[in-house]
């Protein structure tokens, strides 16, 4: 009997030892064993997604991806005898200083990067040299077929703190998350000799980046950039910008700034060029602001186009300041139509004072002045309006003619476009469609932000602006046969508490054809030296571009 119990005890002990051991390996050491098993039979590979393209309205990618390589070296495989020759060979192909390469190859490391974004041709040349210890890693780098077209609109791709691609400025920055996609993981199973086995790779959710289809018209953008560059040089300006928008939908047709930069080699340019000045620069708009103030006063029934100005016989004193007209010519009892035509500052002081501070602030708010437009670009700013209790009489007066108030060009263009669009202010946008990585298309719908004036007021204001373009200071440069609504601007630049007497920001804003506008455009020249007035610099440039737009859109003359 006791023998039976001993044997039974022995069997139970063995059984429990086995159970305990199984528990140890299958529970306590489970993760470690799984890892070991994975490394023996399979190799995990990270599948990097391709960044989405950026296409103009005709489907042409102005930002695409091209194949390139990272050249790396294993310094331990390069002997001291070969190091100098290897450095010289790589230096001549990669255009890097040989001493820099030699220093990298001296590192006591297994892997050192030599250069990124190396072209396929350069890679082939290096491969043909058959240098031991030099290898290549496939990459995709951004490629710009139209070179620097719309550079400040598009932005560029740099690296984040972890060394991953990240978009900065413009569309690359605003839509970075959509453009970059999601990486995936695949497991390649192989045999004992390392050869792949036909087995299903676990492709965990790798999604290529979404592509963006813009409302930007490539042909118009090309024309605008060329004309802008020529205009800046012709008028001796420091810089210039042009923005063209479809007032009916808010779609941006073209947006150009000069000088610009090459997003493919952004590091070679000063970072002051990266930001898009059309959305990031504040300026005092001057006379191009007058239509906004006047249309607000007309819409609220405070004035009519025939209202006569009682204070326009001479300079106007406000709060200890004397306000003059730009040409020191004064027109007694002038009408509002003539005030706009002559760009009469004293007449606009009258309009502003008739509005009063509360109604002025209300008008500006409805036109979106003092807040961002919501355009889908990274870097937009706005200068909020002062609170009502901080407005002095001189602030009200100067706001009437666009001084003492700061706006971005896109704010102004969007506001004037409301007059062109029967009183409705649209949200500007650059992207019209998003093409997702899994094949879906998301259309961006136009959005009405506000209705600052009625349809009737918009029509009245349009006629005033057509008369201004036809009979105002820029009449000599207008395109005959076309009804174009427009206004010149010659704004003084504030420096250290006063205005620079010799330098201006010359501008022209307008839309055409006046009755059914196809486009609204703002042209700005910063500190032109050939002439300081908008009528002599920005206006001719506006009409030069408008002429090409009429041809492109097959818009015939009105008469």
């Amino acid at each position: 009997m006791w023998r039976y119990r001993v044997v039974l005890f022995f069997l139970f002990t063995c059984f429990f030892i086995v159970i305990a051991r199984l528990f140890y390996w299958q529970v306590v050491k489970a993760d470690q064993l799984a890892l070991l098993g994975k490394s023996q039979y399979g190799q995990e590979v990270t599948l990097l997604p391709q960044r989405g393209q950026i296409e103009t309205s005709d489907g042409f990618p102005i930002v695409a991806n091209k194949l390139s390589y990272l050249v790396f070296a294993n310094p331990k495989e390069i002997t001291d005898k070969n190091r100098e020759k290897v450095s010289l060979d790589l230096s001549s192909i990669l255009k890097i200083d040989a001493a820099t390469i030699s220093a990298d190859l001296n590192e006591n490391l297994l892997w050192v990067p030599i250069k990124q974004n190396v072209s396929v041709d350069a890679k082939t040349e290096i491969e043909n040299l058959q240098i031991p210890g030099v290898g290549f890693e496939k990459q995709y780098s951004r490629f710009y077929p139209e070179a620097s077209m719309a550079a400040q609109l598009v932005g560029f791709v740099g690296k984040d703190i972890s060394g991953n691609d990240k978009g900065y400025f413009g569309l690359e920055g605003y839509y970075n998350r959509l453009l970059r996609g999601e990486p995936g993981i695949a497991v390649q199973i192989h045999d004992a000799f390392g050869r792949p086995i036909l087995a299903k790779a676990n492709n965990s959710s790798q999604i290529n980046g979404s592509s963006l289809r813009l409302s930007i018209n490539r042909a118009i953008q090309f024309i605008v950039e060329k004309k802008l560059k020529d205009g800046v040089k012709k008028y001796g300006a420091v810089s210039g910008m042009v923005g063209i928008m479809n007032p009916r939908t808010g779609a941006i047709i073209a947006m150009a700034s000069y000088p610009s930069y090459d997003p493919g080699s952004y590091a070679n340019y000063p970072d002051s060029l990266y930001a898009n000045p059309f959305i990031s620069d504040l300026y005092e708009p001057g006379s191009t602001f007058k239509p906004i103030v006047m249309s607000g006063a007309i819409d609220q029934g405070l004035i009519t186009p025939e209202t006569e100005c009682p204070i326009c016989a001479g300079p106007v004193s406000v709060g200890g300041y004397k306000i003059h007209t730009w040409d020191n010519k004064y027109h007694k009892n002038t009408t509002m139509i003539k005030v706009m035509q002559h760009s009469d500052n004293t007449g606009m002081v009258f309009v502003a004072q008739t509005l009063g501070v509360s109604r002025m602030i209300d008008t500006l708010n409805k036109f979106g002045i003092g807040e961002t437009t919501g355009i889908d670009l990274q870097g937009e700013i706005a200068m909020p309006l002062k609170p009502k209790n901080l407005w002095y009489p001189v602030d009200l007066a100067t706001t009437g003619f666009g001084q003492g108030i700061s706006v971005t060009p896109i704010e102004l263009l969007d506001a004037i476009s409301a007059i062109a669009n029967n009183g409705k202010r649209m949200e500007p946008h650059v992207v019209s469609e998003i093409l997702t990585g899994n094949g879906n298309t998301i259309k961006i719908q136009p959005k009405v932000l506000d209705t600052p004036i009625s349809k009737e007021t918009a029509k009245v204001m349009t006629e005033i602006l057509v008369n201004t373009a036809n009979n105002g200071e820029s009449k000599w440069t207008r395109i005959k046969g076309y009804r174009i609504a427009g206004k010149t601007g010659t704004a003084s630049i504030p420096i250290d508490g006063h205005y620079d007497p010799t330098k201006t920001i010359a501008s022209f804003i307008g839309y055409a054809p006046a009755d059914h506008p196809k486009f609204a455009m703002l042209v700005i020249l910063n500190k032109p030296s050939a002439a300081i007035y908008g009528s002599e610099t920005a206006a001719p440039l506006f009409y030069a571009i408008a002429r090409d737009l009429f041809i492109y859109y097959h818009i015939g003359p009105d008469d």
Partner: protein, 93 residues
């Protein structure tokens, strides 16, 4: 033999047959990895070539390239357009 015995025998033969089939197929598949690797390499090479060709095509199609080529070929930029207007000659009587 009892029916249950025949049933068990049939099941036994099915199991053996399926096991042999699995061994044969696994054996065949185990060496197709070489072919898989070759096809993978081919796909990668073709994708790379596609990308290179697309880049070249886009460069050729760009306005910058077309404008430059046009200039080289002697095309001149149009300076201004001429508007033809005036009343249409029409015999009223």
């Amino acid at each position: 033999m009892k029916p249950s015995g025949i049933f068990i025998l049939i099941l036994f033969f099915i199991i053996i047959t399926l096991s042999i089939v699995q061994v044969v197929i696994s054996n065949k598949l185990s060496t197709t990895g070489i072919e898989l690797g070759r096809i993978d390499d081919q796909i990668t090479a073709l994708k790379n070539e596609n990308n290179i060709l697309q880049s070249k095509l886009l460069t050729r199609e760009s306005f910058i390239n077309i404008a430059s080529s046009a200039s080289t070929l002697g095309f001149v930029e149009e300076k201004e357009s001429i508007l033809l207007s005036g009343s249409t000659p029409l015999a009223l009587k």
